[in-house]
């Protein structure tokens, strides 16, 4: 029943990942870019679950758990960095975020 849905789920995962990539290229607001990264992480999670269903193993499900944990940690640290930089630059434009450039 749910096995036949794995193939369309992979295509959906591809679509969402591509949208995330295009969003990272297009958007200038750093928080929107960050949300596009989350979208890509979710697309990969969907691929993991679909492959897990197709292979009949639980490894994909465990990997999704770890990806979610890392995503939560990444969101916390990333947003803290955004707040810290916004305090100095007073903007969220990605072009202003070049503190580490030399």
């Amino acid at each position: 029943m749910s096995g036949a849905l794995a193939q369309p789920a992979l295509i959906l995962s591809l679509l969402l990942f591509t949208l995330g990539v295009v969003g990272v290229f297009l958007r200038r607001n750093v928080i929107t870019v960050f949300m596009c990264v989350e979208l890509m992480l979710n697309a990969v999670n969907l691929a993991f679950v679909a492959f897990s269903r197709q292979m009949g193993t639980l490894d994909g499900q465990v990997l999704v758990f770890f990806v979610m944990t890392v995503a939560a940690a990444e969101a916390a640290v990333g947003l803290a960095i955004i707040i810290a930089i916004h305090r100095h630059q007073d903007t969220l434009d990605l072009d202003a975020f070049n503190l580490l450039k030399w």
Binding site: S2, Q7, A9, L16, I31, T32, M35, V49, M68, A72
Partner: protein
């Protein structure tokens, strides 16, 4: 049959709201659209026979991460939507072209990839938890807890106001 209909319904909802996330200039609307995407993905996880991941998706992503995003958006109170329009149309076209190329390449691979899924598949919460807490993933699990602790301390240090 009903599963397939519900799947395509939520898939369309996910893609539509993801388009809003990418196309919307106001970051606030993007965040709300992303919540819709995450919610529909949760339903799709459930349809794929993974109730544990579906619940985790709602609790961790929609519940924790997106609330954090909305908090920061409210905190910084960004009104400048014009900053999103500073790009040349050439770069814009190149980005869409590259995205299309990526979708095409992976799509060709996925199109040729066909595996019939096994019938008896049990990804219930008990089974996934048994796998997760097994000796195989013990060290990974412990490393994750250290990662979260480090992220916690790092977030506090970074966002603190210097004196």
């Amino acid at each position: 049959m009903i599963d397939t209909v519900v799947f395509y319904l939520f898939a369309a909802l996910a893609v539509g709201s993801a388009l809003v996330v990418v196309g919307q200039r106001n970051a606030m609307y993007s965040a709300f659209a992303l919540i819709v995407t995450l919610g529909s993905l949760s339903a799709i996880f459930g349809l794929l026979g993974s109730p544990f991941i579906a619940a985790l998706q709602v609790v961790v992503y929609a519940g924790a991460i997106m609330v954090l995003f909305l908090f920061v958006l409210m905190l910084l109170n960004v009104k400048r939507e014009d900053s999103d329009a500073t790009q040349s149309p050439g770069l814009r076209g190149a980005a869409i072209l590259l995205g299309g190329a990526l979708a095409f390449q992976v799509g060709v691979v996925l199109w040729g990839y066909r595996v019939t899924a096994p019938a008896g598949f049990d990804a219930s919460t008990v089974q996934v938890a048994r796998e997760l807490f097994s000796a195989r993933f013990l060290y990974v699990f412990e490393a994750t807890s250290i990662l979260i602790l480090a992220a916690l301390v790092g977030a506090v240090v970074l966002a603190r106001r210097e004196r």
